[in-house]
């Protein structure tokens, strides 16, 4: 039998590979976006700390900016350093 493909439609899904389902700060799912954003994905990315905890970038930045003295992970209180 010979099959001729006349047309095809590509479909893809994506998800963040994080060690949790939702952001501990805003409690929104990682595959969604933070409460201030409307579109998930590149517009509202996740970031990891060296402590391995993960947050929406907007959530963790807002928290770090409000901390004058110590920049600590809100989960484990270790010093927050971005994982490269």
């Amino acid at each position: 039998m010979k099959v001729k493909i006349k047309s095809w439609t590509g479909v893809a899904t994506w998800r963040w590979v994080a060690n949790d389902d939702s952001c501990g700060i805003c409690r929104m799912p990682f595959d969604g976006c933070c409460s201030d954003c409307r579109l998930p994905g590149d517009d509202c990315p996740l970031v990891w700390g060296q402590c391995s905890h993960c947050f929406h970038i907007h959530c963790i930045m807002k928290w770090l900016q409000s901390q004058q003295l110590h920049q600590q992970c809100p989960m484990c209180r270790q010093e927050w350093k971005f994982k490269e």
Partner: protein, 182 residues
């Protein structure tokens, strides 16, 4: 790939905006507090009251301890959740006048997670358990009511008697406490 989806969503957005025109989008604090309230698992000694059921940002917590110095009492706390929640803790005040080392006579509460140790991964549930713990283990080391703390440190029996007396309604020193037994 992700960009593709973003563009697609952006196109859809126009219709979304029109749909949302009539109802205002909930604020980040409102979204977060809604989750907190939905996931609240209260110990049997605690209950919440919402004076305005549509306003989850302002509510009351009633604690009726069933053990410890404050057994039999009924204590009401007011919670005010600000627009910066969860980046700032809610403002919590004790509306019941209480003889307690960590609660002053104006209702200010000394609990670490309400001030210096707050972090945005904590929830309303964490505060509920913190407050309940204050009634089980009043802490004389870090007092807001210095007189009460001194008595607790030097004479536990007298402290216990003072707590019972204050909850029945009466004077401790020259301060009058309203009855707050359940």
């Amino acid at each position: 790939m992700i960009k593709l989806f973003s563009m697609k969503n952006q196109k859809k957005d126009g219709s979304d905006v029109a749909k949302q025109g009539t109802q205002k989008r909930a604020s980040a604090a409102q979204l977060r507090i809604t989750k907190d309230i939905n996931e609240l698992t209260l110990p049997k000694t605690c209950d919440t009251e919402f004076p305005d059921p549509d306003d989850l940002l302002n509510f009351k917590l009633v604690i009726c301890p069933d053990e410890g110095f404050y057994r039999g009492g009924r204590f009401v706390f007011s919670f005010k959740v600000g627009p910066n929640y969860p980046h700032e803790p809610p403002k919590v005040k004790c509306e019941t006048m209480v003889y307690h080392p960590n609660i002053d006579l104006e209702g200010n509460v000394c609990l670490n997670i309400l001030r210096e140790d707050w972090k945005p991964v904590l929830t309303i549930n964490s505060i509920v358990y913190g407050l309940q713990y204050l009634f089980l283990e009043p802490n004389p080391e870090d007092p807001l009511n210095k007189e009460a703390a001194e008595v607790l440190q030097n004479n536990r029996r007298l402290f216990e008697q003072n707590v019972v007396k204050s909850m029945k309604g009466g004077y401790i020193g020259n301060v009058y406490f309203d009855r707050c037994l359940k």
